[in-house]
């Protein structure tokens, strides 16, 4: 009744000899009943077909193990076919400028298929061949355009003959094709009972995202992140069809962005010579991301959140001022001095350096947490305001800020050579009561970081602004740890569980203004995170966000939980150190872990 004892010895690529004794294991098998996979002991003598856990999960749920859930017709069929991992062909039917991207996506796909098999096991080399046809209607398209990029695709899998399965992906451009391949890779599972790779055989999926902007923000200024960890993040984002890597690359604490036009900013501002993102580094990230259907959105936060790097320029005020509580939200303080004309030359140079390495369709100008008190410490600024007949009050400072913003906006357009959409954080300047006096709704997209229930959200929507939601009560992934200044826990505690991330529906928040929501973004502010903690902070919670933004299902986390557990396992197989969200027992015993 036991599987015979087998010892697998595998000399893997690292020349490490690994021996795994399977001992005498009862082969567990799973059967689907009432939407749940039920674990029971497998009797090899029985003639009943036995399913591995993953094979069972494939058909035990409307969406199988797909993450995010498709939004159009989804029919996974009822049968799994054995396939040969060494016999997967990818055919690109229409050629064009995006060929290199298509080929890269094909290579990634094959890698993902390989990940289904635990190392040390070699699946049987029998089974059908898989022919993957990629039908790209616009093979020359390889750029994003905000709210215009068509990411839809259709996927059809069907048996062609006894020896062959066809999988065809139709899309209007590379981005859709890529998403289709990602979905196809989730339809292939390893069966450890039969020691075989299996594919869902009769599949129809039509799919497209609910929101065009689905992002993760990484702050690489409070703490530095290695390039490897950034690349790994992009890999994981691609697996769940997120499409924007928002790079908050500078802040008061450090300036790791390589500015070749103003090299002292980097030299003085980087934590160390090794903690610099060179232009070559950034190009590598941008290319890597594009192959994975992800845009890299640069942010140059200004006029606040600057400091390190600017020491010798005389262009900042209240840098590292004490007591910091009087001048900014966290140490070290620092704001640009908007009255100096030379500042705008610096800005143009920084923006040009960014335009050189970030071929982006949108740009983030920051604009959060500007402090009147900081600017007010400068006699020069006070005099400038008086000359302009601005009071030293709220409105006067908004005028000053607007003066800065208008000039900076022109410099961005000049540097990028186009009037690209600009993003700004919610702030006193974006207050809906007066935002339209300063910021044209056709020029600016507002990224909301206050709570989802903040009346600012409705107010801005009513005035016609397009929004990206990063409401901190659901999407700030740095919350819940110890405070780093003072005692107690950090300001936005407690920790936000994946369930809350999943339930944070832009549709519910925006109601009738739903179509003004471009999407959402999880933010990892890095005062208390770096490469060592990155994976666990982001994953699997960012996967919960990914499904919310892709599918915007009317259902809650309970309906997604089983697939979510699998999505997390899949990230771990990719090498992502995602947090565990439940005991493995719950993964193996569907529906038994309830409150």
């Amino acid at each position: 009744m036991w599987r015979h004892s087998i010892v697998f010895c595998v000399v893997n690529l690292l020349f490490v000899l690994q021996c795994v004794s399977t001992e005498e294991q009862p082969a567990w098998h799973w059967s689907c009943g009432d939407g749940k996979c039920v674990k029971s002991k497998h009797d090899p003598k029985s003639s009943e077909p036995a399913l591995s856990l993953e094979a069972c999960k494939m058909f035990c749920n409307e969406y199988g193990m797909l993450w995010p859930a498709p939004t159009g017709e989804t029919d996974l069929g009822r049968f799994l076919s054995k396939i040969n991992i060494n016999n997967i062909e990818i055919q690109i039917l229409k050629r064009g400028k995006s060929d290199d991207l298509m080929q890269a996506a094909g290579r990634r796909f094959k890698g993902l298929v390989g990940l289904a098999v635990p190392l040390g096991l070699t699946p049987k080399q029998t089974g059908k061949a898989v022919y993957v046809y990629l039908v790209n209607e616009n093979p020359d398209v390889k750029e994003f355009t905000l709210s215009d990029t068509d990411e839809s695709y259709s996927l059809r899998v069907s048996p062609e003959s006894n020896e062959r399965i066809n999988a065809t992906i139709f899309a209007n451009n590379f981005f859709g094709i890529r998403h289709g391949l990602e979905t196809l890779s989730q339809l292939i599972v390893f069966d450890d009972i039969k020691n075989h790779l299996l594919i869902a055989r009769d599949v129809t999926i039509d799919d497209k995202p609910a929101y065009p902007y689905r992002g993760i923000l990484l702050d690489t200024a409070r703490n530095y992140y290695s390039l490897e960890s950034i690349m790994a993040t992009i890999d994981a984002m691609a697996a769940v069809k997120l499409n924007t890597f928002h790079w908050h690359i500078t802040d008061s604490q450090s300036f790791p962005f390589q500015s070749t036009k103003r090299p002292d900013l980097t030299k003085y501002g980087a934590y160390s010579p090794a903690k610099i993102y060179t232009k070559d580094n950034i190009r590598a990230v941008v290319d890597y991301a594009l192959e994975r259907g992800i845009r890299v959105l640069p942010e140059f936060d200004a006029p606040a959140h600057v400091g390190e790097g600017w020491q010798d320029t005389n262009l900042t005020v209240c840098f590292n001022a004490q007591p910091w509580q009087s001048f900014c939200v966290e140490p070290p303080c620092g704001q640009l001095n908007p009255v100096r004309d030379e500042l705008y030359e610096y800005l143009e140079d920084i923006y040009s350096d960014m335009a050189e390495v970030f071929p982006t369709d949108i740009f983030h100008m920051g604009g959060d947490e500007v402090s009147e008190k900081c600017w007010n410490t400068s006699v020069e600024i006070q005099q400038f305001m008086q000359q302009n007949r601005w009071q030293l009050d709220n409105e006067g400072f908004l005028n000053l800020w607007n003066y800065f913003q208008t000039k900076a906006q022109d410099k961005v357009y000049k540097a990028f050579g186009k009037r690209l959409p600009l993003i700004m954080w919610t702030s006193t300047l974006t207050n809906y009561v007066h935002a339209d006096r300063y910021l044209n709704k056709d020029d600016y997209v507002i990224q909301v970081w206050t709570t989802g229930a903040d009346p600012q959200v409705q107010g801005l929507l009513k005035k016609g602004y397009r929004l990206i939601l990063s409401n901190y009560d659901a999407l700030y992934f740095d919350c819940g740890f110890g405070a780093w200044v003072g005692s107690g826990n950090n300001w936005c505690s407690p920790y936000i569980g994946w369930q809350k991330v999943y339930e944070n529906s832009p549709k519910v928040i925006a109601q009738e203004y739903y179509d003004q929501i471009l999407g959402g973004e999880a933010a990892l502010w890095s005062e208390q995170s770096d490469s060592a903690t990155l994976d666990g902070r982001l994953w699997p919670r960012a996967a919960a966000l990914a499904e919310r933004l892709w599918a915007e299902l009317p259902t809650g986390w309970q309906d997604a939980e089983k697939r979510m557990l699998h999505a997390r396992e899949r990230l771990v197989r990719m090498g992502i150190k995602a947090e565990s969200i439940e005991p493995e027992w719950c993964y193996q015993n569907d529906g038994n872990c309830y409150a």
Partner: protein, 563 residues
């Protein structure tokens, strides 16, 4: 056991299409001259210079790197945990591991094997300061003279861990004297020695890394508490052996000395028992998620070399389910009851349920076989943890067989009756454990650990549990009087207040994240019965992926070494 790593290796194997970017290694950053200097300001710390100062020479209080400044600045430099007394020079000398020698002639012959292993760990730690390659070579001879006074290699609650460490150096050589009662004290001294060494990374066109040793130091150190523990739960989620070893490495760097291995629970049973192979056959999550007997022995040795005693916990009579569910199939009756009960409320604290069946004599036979295996695994004298927490009377109350048994023993079905049944379980378990240790030649009876519970309440404990035999691990929150009550009653205790030292708090329900300052600030009563404390990594929300992040906060628990 290799599951996690196996997946990871797949990634490596296939990496270039999935997981690493196609342009291979990231381009090297542009090289700037090292430019900042750091000044040691007594009582404040290391301050960075206002401007880059390329080529600045280090003077007595100005250093070319932050690492170096932190290593020498302040009364205790970069030492963690803080020793009892220390005097450190602010000067440093370059050293290289190739010219580092350990002299064991003042250590008894019996101690030398393990000392050699300990010195290897220390040397490797130094090399790791330079990421594996100390490229700045100096030939200054460095000799560490290790004096150990006793031949005793046992790790117990009475092991003397104090040490003296003395560093002297001249231009031409450096001499380090370590004096300790035991090899474990000497190990702590080696750990402290490695913390007196800083990497010195030069980046002047070509990256190089060298090591600098504090030129002079006098340190005397001993721990306040005997038991400085780290609990890891490997049942809710499986933790690969390599990751456990990394935890032991981290414990060793902060001189924690007990690895409390919560090896099994109702969720899974990953611990191999040679005598009862069914435990893992039925209880492990998969064939890859098992700790083999060989791996367990290796881990115990690995821990000993790092001054760490392994305490295995087999939680019982509650928190036992998967792994015990095969009794009927083998004609043994139910070994455990309410295993994986669907309606779990009232039967256990969280799914899956499961409690040992004290009415079934065969359960005790099987448990004894498991004890035999554990007694053989554990280093002598053995410290074993029998669990004993969160027994749900409702679970036992749901079994006809148990109710019938209670009737035969004249236990009524009130709380008191069930408490008697529970107490009887512990009595029988302890007797079996004693007998198995005796059978292995252990002359003296050894203490056994138990979690605090209904049974250990102050008004009840003396009737059921002898203070001479049990160490109670109190996990009640800090506002509970139990810890002090038990000390007054004469019980030896280990403290792990759940609202302070549980590492999973803050990620579920209404629990609050306990930050490092809170963990650090918490102090324990000073009493001979207060053995020490422990941080607990329960693994509902942690597996090997999350382990490092979670556990890193535990290394901050310094209070129990020096208080």
């Amino acid at each position: 056991m290799e599951f996690g790593r196996r997946w990871a290796l797949v990634v490596l194997g296939l990496s270039c299409s999935v997981s690493c970017h196609d342009t291979t290694a990231p381009p090297a950053p542009i090289v700037y001259e090292p430019s900042w200097t750091y000044k040691c300001v007594p009582d404040e710390g290391c301050h960075r210079s206002a401007h880059p100062q390329p080529g600045a020479n280090s003077s007595s209080l100005i250093f070319p790197s932050l690492d170096l400044c932190r290593t020498v600045c302040g009364r205790f430099g970069g030492l963690w945990p803080r020793p009892v007394t220390a005097a450190l020079s602010t000067q440093t000398v370059r050293i290289h591991p190739n010219f580092l020698r350990f002299d064991l002639s003042n250590a008894p012959v019996e101690t030398r094997d393990i000392l050699v292993e300990m010195t290897h760990v220390a040397t490797q730690n130094l090399i790791d300061e330079c990421d594996g390659n100390v490229s700045v070579v100096v030939e200054t001879p460095v000799v560490v003279y290790i004096t150990v006074k006793t031949t005793n290699l046992n790790l117990t609650l009475d092991t003397l861990e104090q040490y003296r460490l003395d560093v002297q150096s001249k231009e031409s050589n450096a001499v380090i004297h370590i004096v300790a009662e035991t090899v474990y004290g000497a190990r702590h001294a080696l750990e402290t020695f490695t913390q007196l060494v800083s990497s010195d990374k030069l980046d002047d066109g070509e990256y190089r890394c060298g090591l600098r040793l504090v030129a002079g130091a006098k340190i005397w150190d001993q721990p306040v508490y005997k038991y400085r523990g780290f609990l890891l739960d490997t049942s809710r989620n499986f933790i690969p052996m390599d990751d456990i070893k990394r935890m032991l490495d981290a414990m060793a760097t902060v001189k924690m000395n007990v690895f409390h291995w919560h090896a099994t629970d109702s969720h899974s049973f990953p611990l191999e028992s040679k005598r009862v192979p069914q435990f893992t056959r039925y209880g492990a999550y998969s064939a890859y998620e098992i700790y083999s007997a060989e791996e367990i022995r290796e881990l115990i040795h690995y821990a000993r070399v790092r001054g760490i005693r392994v305490v295995i916990e087999i939680d019982s009579p509650a928190h036992a389910g998967n792994g015990w569910q095969w009794g009927q199939e083998f004609g043994y009756g139910d070994l455990a009851v309410c295993v994986n009960a669907r309606q779990w409320r009232g039967l256990c604290i969280q799914p899956p349920c499961g409690q040992l069946n004290p009415a079934n004599p065969t359960m005790y036979r099987v448990l004894r076989d498991l004890y035999k295996d554990i007694a053989e695994y554990l280093p002598k004298p053995a410290l074993f943890h029998m669990g004993g927490d969160e027994v749900f009377l409702g679970c036992w109350n749901s079994s006809e067989q148990i109710l019938t048994y209670m009737e035969s023993r004249n236990y009524d079905t009130s709380v008191d009756g069930f408490i008697k049944l529970w107490s009887e379980f512990h009595e029988k378990a302890l007797n079996m454990w004693d007998e198995e240790l005796t059978a292995l030649g252990q002359e003296e009876k050894q203490p056994v650990m138990l979690w605090s519970s209904e049974l250990t309440q102050a008004h009840r404990i003396q009737k059921h549990l002898s203070k001479d035999r049990y160490i109670i691990e109190v996990w009640e929150p800090i506002n509970s009087p139990l810890l002090v009550q038990l000390i007054r009653l004469g019980y030896k205790v280990v403290s792990v207040p759940k609202d302070i030292w549980y590492l999973d708090h803050g990620f579920w329900g209404q629990t609050k994240y306990s930050n490092w300052r809170r963990m650090y600030a918490h102090t324990l009563p000073r009493d001979p019965h207060m053995l020490g404390g422990e941080v607990a990594a329960w693994s509902e929300y942690v597996d090997s992926q999350g382990l490092v992040t979670t556990a890193s906060s535990s290394t901050k628990v310094k209070g129990i070494f020096e208080d």
